[in-house]
């Protein structure tokens, strides 16, 4: 499903964020990308989300090389992913429902179908009763759950999350990971970049450990979905 071969990412200032990274991720896997701050987790997340392109090497997602895709093809690829960001990237001038509706409007769904799906997504993350709520009234955990609802509303096969439990208390983080586990159980491929070791033991995912841009060990703890 996802194949990285000799992936390099260098920034103009000479910083080498990723060095010769190769791995494969099969459909339905749960993979944690771990490492210390500055290890290259977010860079790899951004490459996987087609936000940036590799300097060299190939990154194939469903057989398509991200690096070789035209700019106009990228949005259509992103619609197949669910993206969850560390800073959530929610729209605070809109209510919860409107935030979840955005990807559906982009996909061109009818209003009725979009509303039906958005409410179903809010229900999955336990926010259906807060659909009209202003984001300012939502807690950090609720905002993160809303970001997950927005990410899954288009029924993606791959869910990418960058530090999804950062800044969350223990209970909220446990809720978020519970939601991830539920998606994994229905066959969604989960790729989570995190430096939070608390949850690795709980979920027993496969680990891709990065250290200063290099992959230290891969394919350990391989745990396909139950």
């Amino acid at each position: 499903m996802i194949t990285a071969r000799a992936l390099f990412k260098r920034y103009p200032q000479g910083i080498e964020a990723l060095k010769d990274v190769s791995f494969e991720i099969g459909a339905g896997e749960m993979v944690f990308i771990t490492g210390h701050s500055g290890a290259g987790k977010t860079t790899l997340f951004r490459l996987l989300a087609a936000i940036e392109r590799p300097t060299s090497g190939s990154l194939l997602i469903n057989g398509k090389n991200i690096g070789a895709l035209s700019a106009s093809a990228i949005p259509y690829l992103r619609r197949k992913f669910g993206l969850i960001f560390q800073d959530q990237k929610l729209l605070f001038d809109r209510n919860a429902l409107d935030n979840v509706l955005l990807p559906l409007k982009i996909a061109g769904l009818s209003v009725q179908e979009a509303l039906r799906r958005a409410r179903a997504a809010l229900d999955k993350v336990g926010l259906l009763d807060r659909e009209k709520a202003s984001l300012l009234t939502l807690s950090g955990g609720e905002q993160q759950r809303l970001a997950i609802a927005r990410a899954v509303v288009n029924r993606p096969t791959i869910l990418l999350a960058d530090e999804p439990t950062t800044n969350l208390d223990q209970d909220s983080a446990a809720e978020i990971l519970g939601i991830f586990r539920a998606f994994h159980q229905v066959g969604v491929t989960l790729i989570i970049a995190t430096h939070d070791p608390r949850w690795i033991a709980r979920l027993s995912p496969r680990i891709l450990r990065l250290d200063r841009g290099s992959l230290q060990d891969s394919a350990e703890c391989f745990n396909p979905r139950p």
């Binding site: 106009s72 992103r78 619609r79 990237k89 729209l91 982009i106 061109g108 769904l109 009818s110 209003v111």
Partner: protein, 299 residues
């Protein structure tokens, strides 16, 4: 196809909401756009009315054919026959006696005429050409000059020719002005859209991250430009219509004092539709440029 239309409807709704969200700024923009469109169009309308005034005023598009003093009624009959054959437009014969009677009506001239031993005026024909273009009238006058027993051909449209040149220069100047104002309209829309893009930068970023194409992001802004320009065109029509309505009666009265039959004509439906269409196009174009430049800057 259904999804495509739904997205366009959504973009149009979004543009309408943007307009309504800040009514004061929308009204100010409409006033600016309306004024920029109204000024050249009003100028063209005035020139058009002047042209029709020149064409519709008696004694303006006339050619007077004065016969020789020795010309008798037979000679007058021949000229009449030639005029009938040439069909230059309307014409009438003014006998020397009729001309004298008319001249006597002019104050102060009567006594002088009484003192003359005989009527010094010749028989004459007054032709009102069907084709009132200055060059056509000029040609006609030349033809009349070559006819027998015609002593003098007086073209009463010299000032019309001058007016025509003036109108052409005026029209050219107005087209240049329209070009400048059109450019201004594009700049106004460009700047309005620039501010909107800056205000919605985070929304655009999020939309891109969840799969929005550039076309999806552009669409509401371009509809906004189109809508604003369209409404600006309608507002310009309203301005011109109001001006025409206020001026038409006093102008009609003024022209009537000069013995002219003339009605000030304002905007017709085609002109209003044209102004709205030009406004819409310029607004769309300004928005298109702005979105292209700023989306590129945003990467």
């Amino acid at each position: 196809m259904k999804a495509f239309l739904a997205q366009h409807r959504m973009a149009l709704d979004d543009a309408k909401q943007k307009l309504l969200a800040s009514p004061l700024s929308a009204v100010l923009s409409l006033i600016m756009i309306g004024t920029a469109l109204a000024l050249p169009v009003a100028g063209l309308l005035v020139l058009d009315n002047l042209r029709s005034l020149a064409g519709g005023t008696p004694q303006v598009q006339q050619i007077s054919l004065f016969m020789t003093a020795s010309a008798d009624s037979e000679a007058a009959g021949e000229i009449e026959a030639r005029l009938r054959a040439a069909r230059p437009g309307n014409w009438r014969f003014v006998s020397r006696d009729e001309a004298l009677e008319r001249l006597k009506l002019v104050e102060g001239v009567s006594e002088i005429l009484e003192s003359l031993p005989k009527n010094p005026l010749p028989d004459a024909f007054v032709v009102e050409p069907a084709d009132i273009r200055p060059e056509a009238v000029e040609n006609l006058a030349q033809v009349f000059s070559s006819w027998p027993n015609i002593a003098h051909v007086q073209l009463d449209s010299d000032w019309v020719r001058r007016l025509d040149v003036f109108l052409r220069i005026g029209k050219l100047a107005l087209f240049m002005l329209a070009g400048l104002f059109g450019g201004a309209l594009v700049i106004i829309t460009f700047n309005t859209i620039r501010l909107q893009i800056l205000a919605q930068a985070s929304e655009i970023e999020v939309a891109r991250l969840v799969g929005a194409t550039n076309a999806f992001i552009r669409r509401p802004f371009q509809y906004f430009g189109l809508l604003q320009g369209f409404l600006g065109g309608l507002f310009a029509s309203l301005l011109i219509f109001s001006g025409s309505w206020l001026l038409s009666e006093p102008l009609d009265d003024l022209v009537a004092l000069y013995g002219a039959v003339w009605n000030f004509h304002g905007l017709n439906f085609q002109t209003i539709a044209g102004m709205a269409a030009i406004g819409a196009f310029l607004g769309w174009f300004g928005a298109f440029l702005s979105v292209t430049v700023h989306l590129k800057k945003m990467g």
